[in-house]
């Protein structure tokens, strides 16, 4: 919700990507969120990811619901169509948009109130339906725009700014996404851009429901002592499973790794996810093991991050519905309207 125009000028020597775009071409309006808000870091990571992936900005449709997080699509990818829909209903709007044109990239941005409370059902059903999308929850455990109420991802025992202790069990969106069949599941932290950018890149190159739960501290209402979503708490308890590099063909392979330390997963579109293992035993292609690990580490008080699960050969909703390759929104009269003769045959069968 910007009231200020953003200057268009930029340095002539800004680096460009393969399409000749600079990073600035992926920016949006000036953010109106609080200074230091984790969400702005996520917007910056999205910009970085799209720039590095050489995505044409207008080939992205950015969708959101209502809330602080849902305002952010205005602050990145200004040349993309955006849709700030209804509270908790981004997943259905995104699903419809995706059905209409399977060729665009769909980026859904939501929050914990939007996805774990009012829109919990739509979150769940869009995942289980296999919509090809990147779904990012900017998770701060609190209602920001209405000034500090607990959200459904607030951990039990977490303390509100005014001192109330949360007595309700938290919803772990990662656990739900894993159970409901998301084929790319990651958790990250807005304070760890090195981890987050490649995770977003991997998700955007994934041809199925990709879900990222990104813990994003609310500096205004949930960054105090006793909160389990504060910068300090998350830094202390963050347990990264792996570090990801996304290799799309043109990026040179630079790092040297010890044998066995690296695992490569090729996605359906040819991109390679190079995972540097931080936990040797962790297998991100085993859904059941991922769920087990997640719960086990959570019980130990850790916040597990990284690429937690990947199915490199996902099926999406279009595959399930067996729709034609050509986007439905480009089919014309000849493809859609059966015509008068066919109608007369229908009439004949109704006499």
């Amino acid at each position: 919700m910007s009231f200020l125009p953003k200057p268009k000028l930029h340095h002539p020597k800004l680096p460009t990507n393969a399409l000749g775009y600079t990073r600035r071409d992926y920016e949006g309006a000036i953010s109106t969120l609080c200074a230091g808000c984790g969400h702005d870091s996520i917007s910056a990571a999205i910009i970085q990811a799209c720039f590095e992936l050489d995505i044409e900005p207008h080939r992205v449709a950015k969708m959101s619901g209502i809330g602080c997080s849902s305002k952010t699509p205005d602050y990145f990818l200004g040349a993309s169509h955006g849709f700030n829909s209804v509270h908790g209903r981004m997943p259905s709007v995104l699903t419809g948009a995706n059905l209409a044109n399977r060729e665009l990239l769909y980026l859904g941005v939501s929050g914990d109130g939007d996805s774990a409370s009012i829109g919990f059902g739509q979150f769940a059903h869009s995942i289980r339906r296999g919509v090809n999308m990147t779904y990012i929850v900017e998770n701060n455990g609190v209602y920001g725009l209405t000034k500090g109420q607990f959200s459904a991802t607030s951990d039990k025992g977490s303390k509100a700014k005014k001192g109330t202790v949360n007595t309700d069990e938290a919803i772990d969106l990662i656990g739900i996404a894993l159970q409901l069949g998301a084929t790319y599941v990651a958790r990250s932290f807005s304070g760890d851009k090195d981890q987050l950018v490649p995770l977003i890149k991997g998700a955007m190159r994934h041809d199925g429901p990709a879900f990222i739960d990104c813990i994003s501290p609310c500096v205004a209402f949930n960054n105090h002592e006793g909160s389990t979503k504060s910068y300090d708490f998350v830094r202390e308890h963050n347990e990264a499973m792996n570090r990801l590099d996304v290799i799309t063909g043109r990026a040179p392979i630079t790092a040297d790794y010890e044998p066995g330390e690296v695992r490569e997963v090729e996605q359906h579109d040819g991109s390679i996810l190079r995972l540097r293992k931080l936990h040797a035993e962790y297998d991100p292609t085993n859904r059941v093991a991922a769920m087990h690990h997640l719960h086990e580490r959570k019980a130990a008080g850790e916040i597990v991050t990284g690429l937690l699960f990947i199915d490199p050969e996902p099926r999406d909703l279009h595959a399930n519905l067996n729709t034609v390759a050509r986007p439905l929104n480009r089919l014309g009269d000849a493809a859609l309207v059966p015509g008068a003769a066919a109608l007369e045959a229908v009439n004949a069968g109704l006499r």
Binding site: M1, S2, E56, P57, H58, R59, A61, M63, P73, D74, G78, A79, S80, H81, G82, F83, N84, S85, V86, R89, P91, S92, V93, L94, T95, G96, A97, L99, A100, N101, L104, G121, Q122, A124, H125, L317, H318, L321, N322, T323, V324, A325, L328, N329, R330, L331, D333, A335, L336, V337, P338, G339, A340, A342, L343, E344, V346, N347, L350, R351
Partner: protein, 616 residues
């Protein structure tokens, strides 16, 4: 006790037969056979299912009105009851008009006290014959139904050759199934001819009154209309009585929109609820596909917030509402026209929506297709209001028609070429003075034409603003657009009385058939009434002119609160006393008898005050 019957009800091609069955007993196809056979004899019929919210075991009825005159509304009353359900015996027997007929399965004796003295009783030992002829238990149950059709064919003079043709069509290539059906029909027929006085006073005589009309339900017709309207995305949640609309769309899509390799030129999602259904529709329409949902009243209630978004963000959406009796769960399998206001003013804030009122399946098809052009042209929600009576019953109606020269009208969509040529794009800019702005589909152009869609207020170039003047500017433009809509939606249809009159009647939707019959009857009584059938909201100026040209206007509706009348008063500034409500809302379809009595009594009371007082 009534007087013993002295005279029997008689009539040729003009009577009502009602079948009382048990849900799930397989009676539907036999009853359809009965109805279609009469149609094939060239005699118009109106048929209605009366069914419970249940799959198996509860009572269900099928009513066939035979009308050589072509009256398709419900008549009321029953001349011949085919009582096949012991559970409802008492009320079924009670419903028969004096002098009428009761047809029943006489295998087990029924005490004399359970009949009536003033009706004619026809017993046929259906179960006994079926058990003797067939061994399979399910077959015995199913064929008992065909057997009563056989007996009725003798009693009412249904042409057996027509039934033979229908069975051959139905079981084409399945001779194994055809034979027992044929046998059962013949057994019933032969038994009746040998043991009963055939024909009854009620008889059928071949006629030529059906013409090229078709016999179809409104939901299938609307689903087919959506196919012809170019809809590619359907998102829906199962709810009676709209479910068969989405299923109809799917059936015709399978037939007409499947590639040789099996891939589909359409997408149907059975969503998790009505909120997701309308959300998917709005997302798809935003992205340039034609999309719709089908639902009923409770679904409309759930969709309210999204409908407001569709209105304010100006995204075309089509919502078929097959109305049932509300409020709340109401009577889910009974008909009403009670969502008129809920549709017209859906959502919070100031909103007004396009509402179409088809009168029969023919118009369900036509409006089903037109709705997508209207939605695209006006960029807002369009409700198509069917009801259970039109939606779930087979109606005799004019055949579907299509002009091959017609093309989808996608409304004002700015293309990449136009953007490239430097054409000014403001998503909410009224460039043409009709209140309708231009839109772009996502992905159109690399650097031009992108905008941010939101349910919050914004300026003409889609930039967020809370400035009052900009908000008012936009809201006024939406009103301007609504004015434009009046010239786009289907116009009302006038039926002028034989003689000049100061009395008028306004009606809409499924009341049409009963209304036409009532008007003919009133005319025969010397009461002349001009009639206007409203087909859409916003109201065309013809509507105001019609009301102004009459001293009193009856408004015939199937709801308690006279919802269309409220809409007329509110939108056209009509004084309440000028609009007299005629309301039928018990869940059964409105009848000509009811309308005739309501209007006739009122008019007569004005002419002859004492007669009127006595009538009340």
């Amino acid at each position: 006790m009534r007087d013993p019957v002295t005279s029997a009800v008689t009539g040729t091609n003009d009577f009502v037969v009602k079948f009382a069955n048990v849900n799930g007993s397989g009676s539907a196809s036999a009853n359809q056979l009965f109805a279609k056979a009469i149609l094939r004899m060239g005699i118009p019929i109106a048929s209605r299912n009366i069914f419970p919210s249940n799959i198996q075991g509860l009572p269900t009825w099928f009513e066939v009105r035979v009308s050589g005159e072509g009256h398709l509304g419900r008549r009321g009353g029953v001349d011949l009851m085919v009582a096949m359900n012991p559970q409802t015996w008492e009320r079924d027997v009670a419903e028969i008009d004096p002098g009428g007929y009761l047809f029943y399965d006489s295998t087990r004796p029924v005490p004399r006290s359970r009949f009536r003295e003033d009706i004619h009783v026809i017993g046929v030992p259906l179960t006994e014959m079926c058990n003797a002829a067939f061994t399979d238990a399910r077959q015995r149950q199913l064929l008992k139904n065909i057997m009563y059709v056989g007996a009725l064919s003798a009693l009412l003079q249904i042409d057996p050759a027509v039934v033979e043709t229908l069975l051959s069509e139905q079981y084409k290539g399945k001779e194994k199934l055809a034979k027992p059906n044929r046998d059962a029909f013949q057994m019933g027929r032969d038994w009746a001819l040998a043991n009963l006085a055939c024909p009854l006073g009620l008889t059928l005589e071949p006629a030529d009154k059906v013409g090229n009309r078709i016999y179809v339900d409104g939901n299938s017709a609307a689903g087919l209309g959506a196919v012809y309207g170019g809809a590619t995305v359907c998102a829906w949640y199962p709810i009676t009585p709209s479910t068969s609309l989405a299923e109809g769309f799917e059936k015709y899509c399978k037939k007409f929109r499947t590639e040789p390799d099996g891939r589909k030129r359409y997408a149907i999602v059975q969503a998790e609820d009505e909120l997701a259904s309308i959300g998917i529709v709005i997302g798809a329409a935003w992205n340039g596909a034609r999309a719709f949902t089908a639902t009923s009243g409770p679904g409309i209630s759930l969709m309210q917030e999204f409908v407001g978004l569709s209105y304010f963000a100006e995204i075309p959406s089509v919502i078929f509402d097959v109305q049932r009796a509300g409020p709340s769960t109401g009577m889910p399998t009974r008909t009403q026209q009670s969502d008129v206001l809920a549709a017209a003013y859906a959502s919070h804030g100031d909103t007004k929506h396009i509402v179409l009122f088809p009168e029969d399946p023919h118009e369900c098809f036509a409006f089903g297709a037109d709705a997508f052009d209207i939605a695209d042209r006006l960029q807002q929600p369009v409700f198509v209001l069917l009801d259970l009576d039109i939606g779930m019953n087979d109606w005799l109606c004019e055949p579907f028609a299509w002009d091959d020269a017609r093309r989808m009208d996608r409304g004002k969509v700015m293309t990449a070429e136009e953007l490239e040529a430097g054409r000014v794009f403001g998503r909410y800019l009224d460039a043409d003075g009709d209140g309708i702005p231009y839109r772009t589909y996502p992905g159109t152009h690399p650097s031009k034409g992108a905008f941010f869609t939101r349910g919050t207020s914004r300026d003409r170039f889609a930039k967020y603003t809370e400035v009052g003047a900009a908000y008012v500017d936009n809201m006024q433009r939406l009103l301007q657009k609504f004015e434009t809509a009046k010239g786009i939606v289907p116009r009302p249809v006038l039926r002028q009385a034989a003689e000049p009159t100061r009395t008028g009647v306004i009606y809409y939707g499924s009341s049409s058939a009963a209304m036409r019959e009532a008007l003919a009857a009133l005319e025969a009584d010397g009461i002349h009434v001009d009639a206007l059938r409203i087909r859409a909201f916003p109201f065309h100026q013809d509507v105001e002119a019609f009301i102004a040209a009459h001293d009193q206007v009856f408004v015939v509706e199937q709801n308690r609160d006279a919802q269309l009348r409220t809409l007329l008063m509110n939108e056209c500034g009509i004084a309440p006393q000028q609009l007299i409500p005629v309301l039928h809302y018990d869940g059964t379809p409105i009848t000509a008898r009811f309308i005739r009595a309501a209007i006739g009594d009122k008019v007569l009371a004005q002419i002859l005050p004492f007669a009127g007082a006595a009538a009340e």
